[in-house]
Subunit: 330 residues, 2 copies
């Protein structure tokens, strides 16, 4: 369902609203949160504005990347757009699920004193299984109520390593959500990834502006190294903190992840669209608009019908979708 | 895929040609076989002629039933249309598979002397499994080369009964294919089901004829009891014979039956249409025109994609398709 012209964040996967809309709703513009600064692929500009418009939200800036350069440069563009008086930036991917928004808001609250003091803060998701698809954070000494220094970042581990970290009890998943002062981030970039900062600055200096849309200069932005905020900044900076939080988080990295956070019927099925399921258990079934899916006597399957495409695989193997994409390309 | 407006015999299930076309090709018009008399639902008249035309076949008569009254009245219409000098009638459902046409022709040859002497002949399929979905025939004494009296007909048996019949070695499946003289059949109807004969005669007497099309009178035909040739005639008549034959026969009564007669790849998959199968074994997959089906890591599934409908069930449970139809009606 996720395709270059309509990626995951533009799809309604967990609710009637799209991931982008749910993300915008999570921090409604008002006393606590300013209107969002959105960094998106230039191809998706109209779709972003339509989806925000449909929930009566509006970006203060829509930064349209001419090409992807990973998260460190993208966040640099946002930090430069926010300017000096912009307050802390809450950096959220728009394709994550957060089931417990109250817990998220409490975690933001816990992070604020350290953020205002210049710490770069990440949110550490309380792990409920030894996932090998996530990075981990070792939680260090407390620096305030509910907030700790980061002892170290751990890349996606092998299974045994993940199990050991869970057993140790002092590790959290790296949720990829950050809270930081724009100037603190730009300073850290200057120290640890100056080429990224230089490219982002030059791209913004020569940017074209159309209303809230900002089109950074493509030639300048293309000069930026492609790197994540984790590698470029968080793993290198000194004042890096983590707020451990249990908030029903998922990065929806697979169909299995979607099944895990879905509301299921008594038989364990999570069905959307027109689905007839008889003697069927523990399946995730998505029938696209106008499609009808009938199942009898199956269990533990993921079935996705979208347009003229049908995908069928067992639960637990949804990482193998990549193999299908490869086979299709061949 | 089989729907009232386009039933199984009008579909290309086993080859590029439809079941009707394959049935017509089995007895090509020429020295040995006359052009076919086809009995069909009036709704399908154009489709029947189109499909025959596409293989350059032509019916000598296309009898269009105003409503279904099961096989005994349908065959009565054909027998009346054939008239006195029509020679024996080979009665074939147009939705059966016969893999070994040579064996079928040899069986017809073996049956002819008895047929000409007035016997009603059925073909008994050499069983290869204790199927509970078929009727059985107990093969009696020989009355000629390769032909035997029918000792008794057995309705669809329970599993243990089917196993006992297979073990006994003197039972065959009732294939529902008959060879008989039109006058012998009409005489038997007169003796054992006179109401069927009377209704068929009256319907044909008042039939409307348009070229090869014959439209029996609906009011008269409606008076016929609804009964099968097996119940109405074969189980009651005295001179009933069976030609046992092994000819790769299937009534394609289920998706499992289709899988059983399909050519499979090395992994046991029988796929048609655009199918991407990775780590997938022993599946029957049919992707309709313009559809694309991707499977990873599944086995023993039947997957059918037709228009906006998707059907998924395990092999061995394809009789449960009926339950889906019931659920849809509800």
């Amino acid at each position: 369902m996720s395709r270059p012209e309509r990626p995951k964040q533009m799809l309604a996967l967990t609710a009637e609203e799209t991931m982008l809309q749910l993300t915008a709703r999570r921090t409604p513009t008002g006393e606590r949160f300013a209107a969002p600064i959105i960094v998106a692929n230039a191809l998706h500009a109209d779709m972003v504005e339509e989806q925000l418009g449909a929930i009566e939200a509006r970006a203060q800036a829509l930064i349209l990347e001419p090409m992807g350069r990973n998260t460190a440069p993208a966040i640099a563009l946002a930090a430069l757009a926010a300017g000096e008086g912009g307050g802390p930036l809450l950096v959220m991917p728009s394709d994550h699920v957060i089931g417990d928004v109250g817990a998220f808001h409490a975690a933001i609250h816990a992070a604020m004193p350290a953020v205002e003091a210049g710490w770069l803060v990440t949110f550490g998701i309380t792990p409920d299984a030894p996932e090998t698809g996530y990075g981990y954070i070792q939680v260090g000494e407390s620096i305030g109520a509910g907030i700790h220094q980061v002892r170290r970042f751990v890349e996606k581990p092998r299974r045994e390593v993940a199990e050991a970290m869970i057993a140790a009890g002092d590790h959290a998943w790296n949720g990829g959500i950050f809270l930081l002062r724009a100037d603190a981030y730009l300073e850290a970039l200057d120290a640890f990834a100056p080429e990224i900062l230089a490219a982002a600055r030059a791209a913004m200096a020569r940017a074209v502006r159309e209303g809230v849309r900002i089109l950074p200069d493509a030639a300048e932005f293309a000069r930026s190294p492609s790197d994540s905020i984790d590698y470029a900044v968080m793993e290198k900076a000194e004042r890096v903190a983590v707020v451990p939080v249990s908030m029903g988080w998922s990065d929806l990295g697979s169909w299995d992840a979607l099944h895990a956070i879905s509301d299921c019927d008594e038989a364990g099925n999570a069905c959307r669209g027109e689905v007839i399921a008889i003697d069927t258990a523990d399946c995730l079934v998505r029938a696209g608009a106008g499609k009808r899916v009938a199942l009898v006597g199956v269990s533990d399957l993921i079935v996705v019908v979208d347009g003229d495409d049908v995908l069928i695989l067992p639960r637990g193997r949804s990482q193998d979708v990549k193999r299908i994409i490869e086979a299709m390309k061949k």
